[in-house]
Symmetry: C2
DNA sequence: GCCTTTGTGTACCTATTGGTACAATATTGT
DNA sequence: ACAATATTGTACCAATAGGTACACAAAGGC
């Protein structure tokens, strides 16, 4: 049962690691911070993640990607009712990003050179999100070209809303911006159902 | 003439400092990096910026804010022709952010806790940008509430476009997203001229 | 030409960085 | 119970972090 145990503890450390990376960035999250955040000593940390910080971040990214795949991407891709799926996406995303107060780790990684080791994962996350949303819109009768534009606008718009909401320090701006994106997608779906 | 000399050299170091901070973030930009980027030794750096990295970043932010005030905010606020001013803003912003490949230092600062010392400047930058754009739209006949929404969408949308364009590594997505924001603003102006 | 101010390189400081080694301690299957 | 394995804390390491001190070099003004 040892292998399972390792996986379990490693997995249970991921949320704390993710929050620490979100808060301080990849470079700013020192081992001392990560140790305090997880409650694990350096020995345990390097036992679970022999590759050090880089492996920790990689595991965190995989974890995030898995969550989004289950909660966001797959529901969009297999939506029976596109409007309901779009509404669900916005609800989940708003909760996940804590109304814009919580940084999107994947997006933030792309901004500085510290995240250059993870470009493939970062790129995949965004392309899959946009593709899933576009497919959902298409399945609701939206023309492919328009669907691609709307999906790109929505996903990048959510990222921008996070940046702005954190910059001005108010959730309200995130909620306003995201609500307008939601309305735009629903309106596009409404015209073709 | 010494005072002028100091100011001159200090100012001439700001672009290189800004690029280094953009590239590596505040924490990631070590003094060694900053020294190499500016061509100045540690002695000179601390002569010009006795407050260390924090003062360097503060000076860089003031410099950026000054540039935006001159090139973006003021033209928007005093626009004689709103549509021309909006077009000018998008042209200048696209050039400044290098079609989304160049990070917005102000936006990035708001994302991690390292930038918490600069929250006032970060917040001021965004609120002034949005207010200037909204005023420009209003002066073109757009209703105040709509103008505020459109301005918020455009500014946050530009930030999101930078995040996405860097994440997927292609300028094209930045250009597409920004073009749609430009069109939305021009259309709103067009309906009221 | 001198004297003060401004600029610069180098040496140095302590604290912390990411990472390793390893002994001690659970925990495990058998 | 016992041997193997997994986990953990501690000590340690070289490298680098940001920052200071200071001797020295330009460059002024007069």
């Amino acid at each position: 049962m040892s292998a399972k145990r390792v996986l379990t503890d490693r997995a249970s450390a991921l949320p704390a690691l993710a929050e620490a990376f979100r808060e301080h960035g990849f470079e700013g999250a020192s081992l001392a911070i990560l140790s305090k955040a997880t409650g694990l000593g350096k020995g345990s940390l390097y036992n679970f993640f022999p590759g050090g910080k880089e492996e920790m971040m990689a595991a965190v990214l995989d974890n995030i990607d898995g969550w989004f795949a289950d909660a966001i991407f797959t529901p969009l891709e297999q939506a029976r009712d596109p409007a309901t799926a779009v509404n669900g996406m916005f609800d989940d995303v708003t909760a996940y990003f804590r109304s814009g107060q919580r940084v999107c780790l994947v997006g933030a990684l792309g901004l500085n050179s510290a995240g250059s080791a993870f470009t493939t994962k970062v790129k995949g996350y965004f392309t899959r999100w946009i593709a899933a949303l576009a497919r959902c819109l298409e399945s609701g009768g939206v023309a492919p070209a328009l669907a691609a534009n709307l999906a790109e606008d929505a996903v990048s718009g959510i990222q921008g809303a996070i940046v702005l909401a954190r910059a001005v320090g108010e959730e309200a701006s995130f909620l306003r911006i995201v609500a307008r994106h939601r309305a735009a997608l629903l309106e596009a779906l409404g015209h073709h159902e």
